[in-house]
Amino acid sequence: MSVRHAMLALLSEGSSYGLHLREEFEARTGDVWPLNVGQVYTTLQRLERDGLVASEGDEDGPGAQKMFRITQDGARELDTWLRTPPDLSSPPRDELVMKVLIALRVPGASVSEVIQAHRRYLVELMQQWTRIKEDADPADLSLGLAVDAELFRLDAVVRWLDAADARIKRVTADAAPADTPAAATTPAPPHTSVIESLPRMPLTTNRKVRTRR
């Protein structure tokens, strides 16, 4: 997440002090993304260096604070940023995906159990976020939207696990001998034989991948 552009957005509403910007940032994001003071001031100094904000007042002396305001260049930068989609074109190196892919290859590993362990963890996290939403003031849009974003993100991972589980089960059923009709309806056995029957999947890729966050 861009703290730099969040600062510009807050300053677009009017001039402000660094400490106030930090409080506003945390309030607007439902306290989900706390910031430290040092990060705020470092960001403001860089914005000022780049001509995107300007300051008045002097930090020297006890209790003195700088008042920051957005410049015309800063307003243009903010507008461009809001309209620019984040780069989602390259897949992140997702540890969970790697673990499931690796489980397919490890002799004796139960892929369905690996998937379920991750699914349960994710759903428990979702329960915690939902409790936050349930207890929140419905008028607190910032918190509601931030929690929704987290719930949708986790939900997408659970859906991927569900799809992976179903796909593996289907391939397993197709690979089962014809004289075991119950194979499709009984729980999958330890997956040693299943793994051997699956197509060999590449665990590395030459494609350039970005590291998440």
């Binding site: 349960r120 936050i132 349930e134």
Partner: protein, 245 residues
């Protein structure tokens, strides 16, 4: 130690449909307990047996083996008439496609089960209006189902399932036909009914966001319960992460 028996208990329940080559084992040795005030979600893929589990817990079907107890009372030894009374008085059902009667108004849909159970039409209507009022539908009481939005129809169905002295709500994909905001509203209402009216709800869904409204989530696969969530320490832990350096 429990002071009261759980509201719903399934003990080693199995359900088999068909015979011979056509035999399908829908449930295998399923044991499940849901306490008063608890909302339990059952998650699993299509064909995993979750809807069968719901119909058996709701006394709409008998298990092939095992026991179902409602309020500590076994259904196996219960005469058919007593079972029907239990269904009318104690259990409410919510379905994905609402199942409202199209020729009746919202208030009439809600009051009907009370009247069928012997309550006077006047008292049933008062109870129905109160239930609708509690779900924010006071201005929709005289509307027919086709005059209501999907979200409103499902709220009417929830009012019908929770009206009177019902203790147990069984919901099968109650938000399946709704968008995420209306789906959330339905789950919020069901959870609130559990907490505020000491009801128990068992909700079947494949949707993790909706299941996350439950106090406990049970995972079912190939007719067997494979796992369940562990109650969280507290949601506040998510909001005390270290600031970014």
């Amino acid at each position: 130690m429990r002071n009261h028996p759980p509201l719903v208990e399934l003990r080693a329940v199995s359900k088999t449909y068909g015979q011979g080559h056509a035999e399908v084992h829908a449930l295998h040795d399923v044991s499940l307990v849901a306490d008063t005030g608890e909302m339990v979600a059952v998650m699993g893929p299509s064909g995993s047996g979750k809807s069968t589990l719901l119909t058996i817990a709701g006394t709409l079907e008998d298990p092939t083996s095992g026991q179902v107890l409602i309020g500590g009372q076994s259904l196996a030894s219960m005469p058919r008439s007593a079972k029907a009374r239990l269904r009318r008085q104690t259990i409410g059902y919510v379905f994905q496609d609402f199942n409202l009667l199209p020729g009746l108004t919202a208030a009439e849909n809600v009051s009907l089960p009370l009247e069928l159970d012997g309550m006077s039409a006047r008292k049933a209507r008062v109870a129905a209006l109160r239930a609708l009022d509690g779900l924010g539908l006071e201005n929709r009481a005289g509307h027919f189902p086709d005059q209501l939005s999907g979200g409103e129809r499902q709220r009417v169905a929830i009012a019908r399932a929770t009206v009177g002295q019902r203790k147990l709500v069984l919901a099968d994909e109650p938000s399946g036909a709704l968008d995420s905001v209306n789906g959330e509203a339905v789950m919020r209402l069901l959870h609130s009914a559990c907490k505020n009216n000491a009801m128990t709800a068992i909700v079947v869904t494949h949707d993790a966001q909706l299941a996350s409204w439950a106090d406990r989530i049970i995972f079912i696969r190939d007719g067997r319960i494979t796992d369940q969530t562990i109650p969280a320490v507290g949601p506040e832990s998510l909001l005390t992460v270290e600031p970014e350096k």
